[in-house]
């Protein structure tokens, strides 16, 4: 029966999917264009937020809101710089073929685990905190009837910040367990 299964596997009908080198080159160029476009979209989004905050700065006389708007502009400027730096670098051409699957999987799981364990996501979130808090504190001071909204924003923000680390660690733990299992196979 095992031979029947092998025959069944090898003789199954396939679609005959193939790509010409012309098609491949075209797709590679499309991917690179999409990657550049994604970076441009991040720049555009950051620029829009900076413009909006600049408008708030010019419009609202409240000192807290103005200070918050400036800090938010600086944060998004920093985000735009980071977006360029953290763009996924292309692996060397032969890496996928030079690397046995076990090593590749170990490296990939380790990378994902390390990203989740890194303090960077928390640091990134905290960089936005002072500007965010000042801006909404100024907003609440200028509009006393919106103070509950300010507190709601504050609590939501605090909950998100407090959850980032334990949630990331939980997922990192799962990757760690998978890595431990892979160790037995080498």
């Amino acid at each position: 029966m095992a031979d029947d299964v092998l025959d069944l596997w090898r003789n199954q009908k396939t679609e005959g999917f193939q790509m010409t080198t012309v098609e491949i080159r075209k797709r590679v160029m499309e991917f690179e264009k999409t990657s550049r476009r994604n970076l441009f979209d991040v720049y555009l989004a950051c620029a829009c937020i900076v413009l909006v905050m600049a408008a708030f700065f010019a419009t609202f006389p409240n000192a807290l809101q103005r200070a918050g708007a400036v800090l938010i502009m600086v944060s998004f400027g920093w985000l735009a710089v980071q977006a360029r730096r953290t763009r996924t670098k292309k692996a060397p051409a032969g890496e996928l073929g030079n690397t046995a699957s076990l090593d590749f999987l170990r490296a990939e799981l380790s990378r994902r685990r390390d990203v989740l364990r890194s303090p960077r996501p928390l640091i990134n979130a905290l960089i936005f905190t002072p500007g965010y808090l000042l801006f909404f504190a100024g907003f609440a001071a200028s509009n006393p009837k919106h103070v509950p909204f300010f507190y709601f924003q504050l609590v939501t923000f605090a909950v998100v910040i407090l959850l980032i680390v334990p949630l990331n660690r939980r997922v990192a733990g799962r990757y760690e367990r998978e890595l431990a299992e892979l160790e037995k196979l080498g």
Binding site: M1, L8, G16, T21, R27, E95, N98, L102, L185
Partner: protein, 172 residues
């Protein structure tokens, strides 16, 4: 040999195997097509760095499985059913459907469903075994020790024999 020529020759020879591999990693037809494209792109790119470090077949299978494993990791949902090892598969209950077992297409579907439950390395070993790759080459492609490769192949043969007996799991 040029990058283009290496790709054309290996794609022509191994295109059906790459399709079967993609189906082993991805059940959804749309995502499977994307995965297959990704594999072909990665293969073409990779041949720029090929210096006969290994056989072309080993190279192709490594690239394909590495891309597919990345795909599984990327699309995995955290609350999805966990993937299992070959040991766990042996102890999972077999669906009782003698009529389905007699149908070759359904048998193929069951085989793919079984493969997709497996963890990435085990999935790779079983698909390479089904493609007729020998144990030594499986060890070279996957990086697992020869002893481990032989043990897994032995388990695979046992599972295939018990789950895909002629007439179904009960032998009817």
């Amino acid at each position: 040999m040029s990058q283009d020529l290496l790709y054309q020759q290996s794609a022509a020879e191994l295109a059906p195997a790459l399709e079967r591999l993609a189906r082993s990693y991805e059940a959804d037809p749309e995502k499977r097509r994307d995965l297959l494209q990704e594999i072909h792109l990665a293969l073409w790119r990779s041949f720029a760095g090929f210096n006969a470090q290994c056989s072309v077949r080993t190279w192709v299978y490594r690239v394909a499985h590495n891309v597919a494993a990345s795909h599984v990791l990327k699309h995995r949902r955290m609350n999805a059913r966990p993937l299992v090892s070959l040991d766990d598969i042996e102890s999972l209950p077999e669906p009782r459907d003698a009529e389905a077992a007699a149908d070759r297409l359904k048998t193929l579907d069951r085989l793919y469903a079984l493969i997709r439950q497996l963890k990435p390395i085990e999935r790779e070993v079983i698909t390479l075994y089904l493609e007729g790759v020998d144990a030594a080459s499986i060890g070279e492609i996957t990086g697992i020790s020869p002893g481990n490769a032989a043990t897994k192949i032995h388990r695979i043969k046992k599972i295939l024999a018990s789950r895909f007996r002629e007439g179904g799991p009960d032998g009817r």
